[in-house]
């Protein structure tokens, strides 16, 4: 075993409490990875990070002796709004490094401080007593966190989003949420081009799309676990083009092309019930089996622990 993965929040957009989300969970994005070497890594700080924080209080984090790394895909609410409720960050002595992208006119730290201004929250970011460092990432940046090698890759989402690949002791884990495929040529119709010109543009667009998708496929190549945005069904996607999310079919296409071993559907739409997800998992498993594909397909649920 190289690392233990645990899902604390699997939902997209907004937290959805209630009886219809008990199985897969209603908290927004947060995934924990603990490596063999004891490196504590947290992907995103949606509402799920609150319960993760409570659980960490039984570890050295409870005594102010913890060290953790928080990798933010991006700073839309459903990926940061649990942070003000993350108890270990209030304990003096704990140390956290928060990684993510900066915004054109705002540093990463300013973005996180913005959600804790007095009009929105009673406690300021600067009043959190743990030592917090911020690392602003570039596309394709690689770095090490303890025994984990990390690579960050820019994904296709409004305002941008980072996917992360972790390599630890010969095992690999990819977290790629809030990502829409680059597969929509938008220049069709309405423009009166001569056939030859249209063909030329189509060729260039499809080459570009193939290059961009190829980069994503390389990024997930051979992953033991690929956690991927699966917010929409194909039918839903038709009215959500450009919203920055994938369908189940998109994620399966990327996973299969990259020979990922296990695809875990993530960032469930708030409207998706447990029954819906059960049905979707069964349908896609049957379809994969029917095509003789070895890819394992699952849907992330809160509380799930996987060792790889």
């Amino acid at each position: 075993m190289a690392m233990k993965i645990r899902f604390w929040g699997t939902r997209g957009s907004v937290a959805v409490p209630g009886p219809s989300t008990l199985k897969y969970g209603g908290n927004t994005s947060c995934v924990e990875v603990c490596t063999d070497g004891g490196t504590e890594i947290i992907f995103d700080a949606g509402t799920g990070i609150r319960a993760l924080g409570l659980s960490l209080m039984d570890t050295p984090f409870g005594e102010g002796r913890g060290e953790g790394h928080i990798l933010l895909s991006h700073t839309h609410w459903d990926h940061i709004n649990g942070f003000p409720f993350f108890l270990p960050a209030f304990i003096k002595g704990n140390r956290f490094t928060i990684y993510g992208g900066r915004h054109s006119d705002k540093r990463l730290e300013e973005i996180l401080a913005g959600q804790m201004e007095h009009s929105y929250f009673p406690v300021l970011l600067e009043d959190m007593e743990a030592e917090i460092k911020y690392v602003e990432l570039q596309n394709d940046q690689s770095f090490a966190m303890g025994d984990a090698e990390v690579k960050a890759k820019y994904l296709n989402h409004p305002g941008g989003s980072f996917g992360y690949r972790l390599n630890v002791g010969g095992r690999s884990f990819v977290y790629a949420t809030d990502a829409e495929p680059y597969h929509r040529p938008l220049n069709r119709g309405g423009v009166n081009l001569r056939g030859q010109e249209q063909d030329e543009i189509d060729r260039k667009v499809s080459d570009l799309i193939a290059d961009l998708e190829g980069e994503t496929i390389d990024f997930v190549r051979g992953a033991d676990i690929l956690v991927h945005d699966c917010q929409y069904t194909a039918e839903e996607y038709e009215s959500k083009v450009g919203w920055g999310h994938s369908t189940y079919d998109d994620a399966i296409r990327i996973a299969s092309a990259g020979d990922a071993k296990h695809l875990i559907a993530f960032h469930h739409d708030p409207a998706r019930s447990d029954e819906d997800l059960d049905r979707i998992v069964e349908e896609y498993r049957d379809a994969l089996a029917g095509r003789g594909e070895s890819l394992i397909f699952s849907a992330a649920y809160e509380g799930w622990e996987i060792d790889i």
């Binding site: 937290a15 409490p17 008990l22 969970g25 209603g26 913005g114 009009s119």
Partner: protein, 280 residues
Amino acid sequence: MRIKFWGTRGSIPTPGRHTIKYGGNTSCVEVRTAAGELIIIDAGSGIRNLGISLMKEDFGKGSGEGHILFSHTHWDHIQGFPFFVPGLTPGNHFALYGENKADKRLEDTLAGQMEHPYFPIRLRDMASEMEFVEVKNGDRFSIGSAEVLARSLNHPNGVFGYRISADGRAFAYASDTEHYPDRVDEAILEIAMNADALAYDSQYTPEEYGKKVGWGHSTAQEGLKVAEKAKVKRLILFHHDPTRSDDAIDEILENCKKDASEMGLNIEIIAAYDGLEISL
């Protein structure tokens, strides 16, 4: 009038098995008068489900009209608004009431939660028509057949409690308020006096409160003091702490009922849950 609770939790939504009975959505209460006016108090995550339900009415056709009273703009009271589908539907009309701060109007604060890099859709892209109405401490105003009174209560960065009177009945909403050690808050008494129901901030147990002085929240027991002095008919425990399981809320309710009977206070006490409906 009819009251329906869509979100009863404080601080942050708490999905999961331990909150199935009382619910995990943050603050949102719907008030309907007999004449049909829709008044919503607060836009925590509970307003998402209220919105879905409203889409079955005129709001689905873009001909709905509603009024939203904001107690204040801490996250748990506004975070559902971007997911309020009637607000995204052209033709609907909403009046939004709340306090303008010296440096930020209510509109700016609501727009702030929908700016890049926090949210992909801007407030101005919500296609319904929105009108912002500034509320000041002590203001009395009409919403159709309803009379509203707003009073400033005790909470960091300020909060309004509201009294809504209609059809000869009164509903008082006092969430996110901390009691004073030596007296019952006059402002709460004013909104709660002879109310048919009072929704009261019951975030903490008396034991917990000792460690949370100044955080702007109260206890069920302090709610009893208000209810007694204001001669309230029903006390509704509201704004449950996110750490509170269903069992823990059951226990708080039982203790509160015991304390009421020891005080000789004969009123109905309810712990609010997502989906609770009361006719006054």
